[in-house]
Symmetry: none
Subunit: 314 residues, 2 copies
Amino acid sequence: MTSPNDAALLRIGEFSRRIGVSDHTLRAWESRYGLLQPKRSEGGFRLYGPEDERRVRRMVELIDLGLPSSQAARIAIADPNGSGAPGLEAPAGGQLPTSVLTSSQAPADVPTPSVWVRARSQLRQTLEEFEDRGAHQVLDRLLADFALDNVMGEVVLPFLNELEARWEAGQITAAQHHFARNVLRGRLTGLARGWASGSGPRAVLLCPPGEFHDLPVVVFGIILNHGGWRVVFLGADTPIQGIDAGFVPPADLFVLAAVSAEPFERQAKAIADLASRNLVVLAGPGATKELTERTGTILSTDDPVTAAQQVIAR
Amino acid sequence: MTSPNDAALLRIGEFSRRIGVSDHTLRAWESRYGLLQPKRSEGGFRLYGPEDERRVRRMVELIDLGLPSSQAARIAIADPNGSGAPGLEAPAGGQLPTSVLTSSQAPADVPTPSVWVRARSQLRQTLEEFEDRGAHQVLDRLLADFALDNVMGEVVLPFLNELEARWEAGQITAAQHHFARNVLRGRLTGLARGWASGSGPRAVLLCPPGEFHDLPVVVFGIILNHGGWRVVFLGADTPIQGIDAGFVPPADLFVLAAVSAEPFERQAKAIADLASRNLVVLAGPGATKELTERTGTILSTDDPVTAAQQVIAR
DNA sequence: CAACTAATGTCGAGAGTTTGTCAAAGGTGG
DNA sequence: CCACCTTTGACAAACTCTCGACATTAGTTG
């Protein structure tokens, strides 16, 4: 029984040593941001408990992520464990001493672009060094701190684009390119465990034969699932003819994505056939207005995140 | 029956010597924190008993952990028998157990074959109904109860083979086939989070261009990683020429897998080139003795689990 | 581009607190 | 009588407190 009463309390020296943050800094964070409100000994020494430790560790994480200390402090105060609902919504009922905060902090925190930039660069660096663990940590932190849509739209998708660009430009090796894609694929599909099950409307996602860039589709599916849809992900290089057989009741939406037009063109007939019985959306750079008109499908020119948000909003 | 333990009472000198805390200190702890309330002799000498000893030992323990004496006393009084450090976590610098896959799977469980059969059939059923959640549960239970190698060798691999067979025989639709493979791929790569990082020897796993059956390779990698190797997974359809560039130090092992011979044949030259600088293993049904001899590589005819176990055992 | 401002981690001085240890003066017990 | 113990008060080393100053970096403004 470790009630709050017998929680161990440490003075600033030991506390500082354990966490790796200097005592000066701890005091500065306390006075400047109200990050901590340690108990005091009779003589006035600060006494830190487990909750304080969580906050500081969180603060450090957020700073590592590139957030300015002031913002990191606000997040760490509102959500020391990072397990709570992520997102940009301002934590309701913020009652803690926000008075300490300097002015000019108008609305809910929109992370400065540098957070995204920095996260992407950390992803790039770790993955190009074949260090998947570091990449996972970056994603862990992002997902804990920010809304899923933002992480996908501001980090994952741009990173993927950058990755392809660097690959085509010969700036990275095939090994680096494939490694990064596989780490991300694993991580993203892991994010969506159980996404085909449940009770919402059901979308079937696939890339036509010859198309292997399925990662943006995964992102699309994750956002869609997050919005309440069931997502049946069929992945890359999936034949289209008769693909809707076996779905009872019929799926509510089919999404086909390709980065070039050929995969669509080759399957135009099968696509038109599928679209005669189902709602079909063509997405990705390979989808053209002309093609969608010819096949009776719907064109989506947005990025996966935006597109999924639109589907969710109907 | 009044005082069965009078004999156990010690005066401060002996008590002090026995615990290794000076008498001065003991008295200070008593007067300052009320840590002890020893009985007294008629003349006023302190008489300490076993309970006092426990308290003092606990106090010392807590002080060693870095707590201020005042706090240590508070806790030692409240909970003299508590074990370990309450409250704060271990001092920084400590490493968490890095592998999610604890290797402590005892010889305990001797699963009857029907467990495996049953698991496979549950997997088949849930996945063919596009119910990934059920499939995940099946795998959760298996992984919790049985050794990783067994789950892979007795359930995952046979299921994959069965899946391909049913697909080729037209017993399942393309959607079911692709869905199942994608769920499994996500799950398996999720199992191996961080597998490229760490400190063991490093293996690079890939399928040559034109080869897309990368799941058995993932299984191989998981077992290998479980055995202490770092695994750089490059996945399906990976070009071979120059693939070893950028690995410093060089990878300890390259594993190329394909289900038919053509992908190997098409890349025979690149493979031989790779093998001239590295240890290269060809695996899968597409690997032939003739080919390995011609390219200076090593043939593996075993299933992925067995093959990985052999590599681990060297 | 220089100059100013804001944010943030770090230092230092002088005062106060915590805590183990000691000393003095005297009592206890075999 | 001598070794051991008690109480009280006092120290000193290590630690911490507050407050102000400073250095650096980044963004803004003239």
